[in-house]
């Protein structure tokens, strides 16, 4: 278990799980706001066709 390769893969794996969890909430919240702004801008610039 002290094999440097095992330690490196373990570090990468557990960091990835933490990073994915962070991304889902952090990027998810920010991207959600940007999407809202995008739709708002599009609605003003291009009112829906009837």
């Amino acid at each position: 278990m002290k094999d440097p390769y095992v330690l490196a893969w373990g570090a990468l794996l557990f960091t990835s799980i933490a990073w994915y969890g962070f991304l889902v909430f952090f990027i998810g919240a920010r991207a959600g706001k940007e999407l809202k702004t995008l739709i708002k801008d599009l609605t003003i610039a291009r009112p829906p066709e009837k």
């Binding site: 373990g10 990468l12 960091t15 990835s16 991207a31 599009l42």
Partner: protein, 499 residues
């Protein structure tokens, strides 16, 4: 069926919600710019979510798990190399900064400015050919996952995947990139949740120490004949030749792969594009390593439960393992997440290749420009054609070797030559059209030879790293010799920033 009614409800709610959101966005489509690059209105976080969702497909989950099953953790080194390539390009702006500043819609469009319209057309053909062949196995691999994870009869595979493709086609044809952005966002959230919770459950189920010691013991017992599970440079694993090819390959992927570049071209400016690359880079470690770990866990699980059951292989072991160990509710979340991954990838890829076919192959051949409505109709018809191709190609084609190698080699058909053209076009004033033709043709020889030999003479198969690595060498050689041997004048590209 291994899914409970609760699992099915989760899946159906997601699919209906995603479809509704995608269809709702069609109201904003006014022209082909809105349809293909969302009017260049994308900010950094939405760009990250869309890029991450598109590049994390069900096909990705399947081939990374297969790599994990066959090569252990060593198989997942490709994700580390890819992350390094994203970070390097994000820090330096190599290729993507001048590309975004040029204000083009596709990469071949840039080639017209530098090498003339014939090179653009030929590059468009190579890009579309490599991209479509590459995408051809997405449905089959996605279907394999669903069959083994849900326990549905194998005979349903074609029908289920056809229905899924029709749903994706519906919102992509009507809403284009704007629909893809909204659905990508939903898929980014769901896929992220599904991958994190499943990874935690897998580690709890199999046990970290058990996972590591079983891999070590298996390799030791094999006398070093199996691939080394932790050291990717070991001769029994990938070896240095393959890793060097992969580094050049991934550098080419992050700078030229059209589905990735379409997000760069949809950003507000080149600063947003480089920021997006830096922030998304580490995502690609997990993109390989987390589903790869599910494949490794499947290997350990079946090794400790009497071996791989009949009818399963290194590809389908992972979904069967997950269906055996995940609890009700979580299995539904995972299947919904994987359907989300499949939908976002197929929609993003279909739109990208349709844009290339429309913009670089058909439009340059038209004598009179089409009306706005005509452009939209044509792009939508191309999308339909791609969907039909996917259905038929996916049903009959047999993979030569593992899925990742197939994807890498088919992508290499255009990656080597287009990467060469981009670098020469942006950074080498002496490059000319003759060099570009030579690079395009020579770069495709290795990968096409690999694919043809796999079908007609499988016993004489050449190693993937030789086919892929030589294509980069030949493409660069063709560009240098072709350009230096001729004196054809070429205007120097001086891209102006476009908002």
């Amino acid at each position: 069926m291994t899914l409970s009614p609760i699992d099915w409800i989760i899946v159906v709610v997601y699919v209906v919600g995603c479809l509704s959101a995608g269809l709702w966005m069609r109201r904003f489509i006014r022209g082909v710019d809105d349809f293909t690059i969302a009017g260049r209105e994308v900010h950094v976080n939405l760009g990250i979510a869309s890029l991450a969702a598109t590049e994390m497909g069900l096909v990705t989950v399947m081939y990374t798990a297969q790599l994990g099953y066959e090569k252990g953790f060593s198989g997942e080194i490709i994700g580390v190399i890819m992350a390094a390539a994203f970070l390097l390009v994000g820090l330096t702006g190599f290729v993507i900064r001048p590309l975004r500043d040029a204000g083009v819609m596709t990469i071949p469009e840039l080639f017209e400015k530098r090498f003339g319209h014939r090179v653009r057309w030929l590059a468009g053909v190579f890009v579309a050919l490599g991209g479509l062949l590459n995408m051809g196995i997405f449905l089959r691999l996605g279907g394999d996952f669903l069959v083994h994870a849900t326990g549905m009869p194998a005979s349903w595979l074609e029908s289920v995947m056809t229905v899924l493709l029709v749903l994706v086609l519906l919102y992509t044809v009507l809403g284009g990139m704007l629909s893809v952005l909204v659905t990508d966002y939903l898929q980014f959230i769901l896929v992220g949740l599904g991958i994190v919770t499943t990874s935690v459950m897998v580690i709890i189920n199999i046990g970290w120490t058990n996972l590591i010691t079983t891999l070590q013991d298996t390799w030791t017992a094999s006398g070093g004949t199996l691939p080394h599970p932790f050291n990717p440079a070991h001769p029994t694993s990938f070896g240095w030749g393959y890793l060097i090819w992969m580094f050049v390959f991934q550098l080419a992927v992050v700078t030229t792969w059209q589905t990735t570049i379409s997000r760069v071209l949809a950003t507000k400016d080149s600063g947003t594009a480089t920021r997006m690359y830096r922030r998304v880079s580490y995502y690609f470690v997990g993109r390989f390593l987390l589903p790869g770990m599910w494949g490794i866990a499947a290997f350990v699980y079946f090794k400790q439960h009497g071996g791989l059951p009949a009818g399963l292989n290194s590809m389908t072991a992972m979904p069967r393992y997950l269906s055996a160990v995940l609890p009700i509710g979580l299995m539904g979340l995972l299947v919904a997440a994987m359907i989300a991954a499949e939908m976002s990838t197929i929609s993003g890829y279909m739109l990208t290749w349709a844009t290339v076919i429309y913009n670089d192959i058909i439009t340059p051949c038209l004598r009179n420009p089409l009306s706005n409505k005509g452009q939209l109709l044509l792009t939508r018809m191309i999308l339909l054609g791609i969907a039909v191709f996917l259905l038929f190609f996916g049903l009959w084609y047999q993979l030569p070797g593992d899925a990742w190698t197939f994807l890498a080699v088919t992508g290499n058909i255009y990656l080597a030559s287009v990467f060469t053209l981009l670098i020469a076009g942006l950074y080498w004033p002496r490059a000319n059209a003759t060099g570009a033709y030579a690079a395009l043709l020579l770069g495709a020889i290795g990968p096409i030879t690999f694919l043809v030999l796999a079908q007609v003479m499988p016993q004489h198969q050449i190693p993937a790293e030789v086919a892929g690595g030589s294509s980069f060498g030949l493409a660069f050689l063709g560009m240098i010799v072709g350009s230096l041997a001729t004196r054809a004048p070429a205007p120097v590209l001086n891209p102006q920033p476009t908002a």
